[in-house]
Chain length 272, copies 3
């Protein structure tokens, strides 16, 4: 199945090819497309690390002013690929949880410390870590076909992506709890009202409208963009790193729990 | 007068009867009803301590997944029973302020550290500490007959219940100041817009609709519920305890002030 | 040009005349009017220091319960007077940046530590520091002719006035970034939705409606007003001072940058 998507992999400018990601870099805009449409752009171990490398590359390239992340096809991103846990029998639960914790930790850290303005263009449904990461950007555009779902409790897991810090600060602790604890799925309009989205754009014109806005931003002076992005982030940077560490630790424990095992088995069985 | 409400007192599962509170514990849901409808469910010293004990009992009972707090009759809760201050002449101002400070401190602490998801079902008007406590829950449902009023300044008192921390984080510091300093009374709809309420439900179907939603939540895995509640709370726990201490100290001074004495006298006189 | 506005200067109660400011002090209300309408009430070095002195005077006067700040004419305030930088050739960039940094630092500090409730009555368009300061008040009224614009990046500068802390806490980090980094100008209605404004009032009745509301607040007990203002501020006071220091340091570096020089030259040239 992943082989079918292999065409989607394009070399980034350092010449490395990352399966599941397509990258362009022109007119000061570094654009990453999650490109496994048949898997609803679920994130594999390779894609996590590939995204980290891409952010580093974009930071290091002086011609880049902005990074944009979007999805190919009708879905934005279905979150963590549950196939990532398929090697449980082979490697053992503990080893796998440790590996997964390390990947998540590095991944979220890269978004906390990314130094240039970051824009998410959510072209369709988003799930799990694809939702919780959004507040680490500087702008989120959403297609009116987008939905936002974080079913952590149903899956026996726990909130990540610094969402336990960022969501209460976007929408207040009560509406954040509704989403993170009780798993309420939000429409694009609801996500806008809860400050998780800056603008809702009709699906038909989504990509074109986003491109138009970003082209304008790419004319702004690069140092001022970078400095203002970081002076806003600096206020919360330390707290975000602390929260990420705690969330990863709790999540690693969850992955080893009976509840999580049962929930994932139920979910996998339902799917087939 | 309180004797008339004594029928409302029901033993909790440890066999203790708490006047003014009715408690049920079934289907994983521990439900506390403030039950002094003739006094608009104003909270007596006994009820403060009774609520603290109830939260501890709910935490300790492994069958309990969620706690719900609501009010009997048309009112949700008129806040601190001003009758609590009726013994001033007898005990002396200083002693009474010290006692009251201790009660408030323990009461708010119990809500900060309660370990399971907590839901307030605000069935009608709420005043004072019945309003300020709301953000310490994980969900707040409001009847469309509910109002939210914190007339601290008019009564010569000061904001409590960790509201000086939580309200600015729900609705921003300006709208929080409007409520906490200038005493603006909110409708249910305004409270929703300010993130103090998750959903407004028509009064006629309020209890039934709330029960329906909570029954769904009670099917979720208990460990994941508890862990996600606490990972969200952990972000602010230390700050909340610090704020509670400061608020109680300031409030104890307020109770000893001329302004507070005059305001309470004016209020009591008006009432009779 | 400034001479034309000199008539606007009125002595404050300590007998000092501050060019560009008109001050009245009656019925417990200390009212400061930014009064350089021909310059859109842009803030000169003298006005910065005059505002600091006025806040100190209002704090020290026991008859004052509230401070109100508004603008004369159709504009509220166009922010920092770019004429403040006209002495660059004479004094040198470094000296001027150091002077400006000192002025900004003292100015913002005075708002953080002002001890009584503060109300901004935004009678028309607001720009730059006139916008970023707003969350340091306790209430913001806006005329429906008001707009809110912070074009820091376009001008090669960086966010100040503790906005990097306060704006994400009012409207969430994403909508704050839209304003502070990408310079989105808000209408009064949008500012209300983003918690930067408490109430939008039609321009025709703005002054009268604001006066009516404030006259009511001026009846409240003064100690309770002051104490509640400070107990809310105390939660964030330390963080606000730290943020102000960082913002001033970054801004001083910006003023010395090539980007800022080019942007200001372009802006000045465009104006004439």
């Amino acid at each position: 199945e992943e082989a079918k998507d292999a065409a989607a992999a394009t070399p980034n400018s350092s010449g490395k090819t990352i399966p599941g990601l397509s990258i362009t870099n022109e007119n000061h805009i570094y654009k990453i497309t999650l490109n496994r449409p048949k898997k609803f752009n679920a994130i594999t171990w390779e894609m996590y690390d590939g995204l980290v490398d891409s952010l580093k590359e974009a930071d290091a390239d002086p011609s880049v002013k902005l990074v944009v992340i979007t999805g190919a096809g009708d879905y934005y991103c279905s979150g963590n690929d549950l196939g990532n846990f398929s090697k449980i029998a082979e490697v053992g639960k503990e080893k796998l949880a440790e590996h997964a914790g390390g990947v998540f930790d590095r991944f979220v850290k890269a978004f906390i410390d990314f130094e240039k303005p970051l824009i998410f263009a959510v072209n369709g449904p988003a799930v799990g870590i694809a939702v919780t990461l959004l507040p680490l950007a500087n702008l989120v555009y959403a297609s009116d076909s987008a939905t936002f779902h974080t079913p952590f409790v149903t899956l026996g897991q726990s909130a990540e992506g610094t969402s336990t810090y960022n969501f209460p600060r976007l929408m207040g602790s009560l509406k954040a709890s509704e989403v993170l604890i009780f798993g309420r799925k939000l429409t694009a309009e609801e996500a806008y009202e809860r400050n998780l989205v800056n603008e809702v754009i009709p699906k038909a014109s989504f990509a074109a409208e986003v491109d138009k806005r970003i082209a304008q931003f790419a004319k702004l002076p690069p140092q001022a963009l970078k400095i203002n992005k970081n002076i806003v982030r600096d206020v919360d940077r330390e707290a975000l790193h602390k929260v990420n560490e705690r969330e990863v630790k709790v999540l690693m424990n969850r992955w080893l729990s009976k509840e999580c095992e049962q929930a994932l088995t139920a979910f996998m069985t339902r799917k087939k």
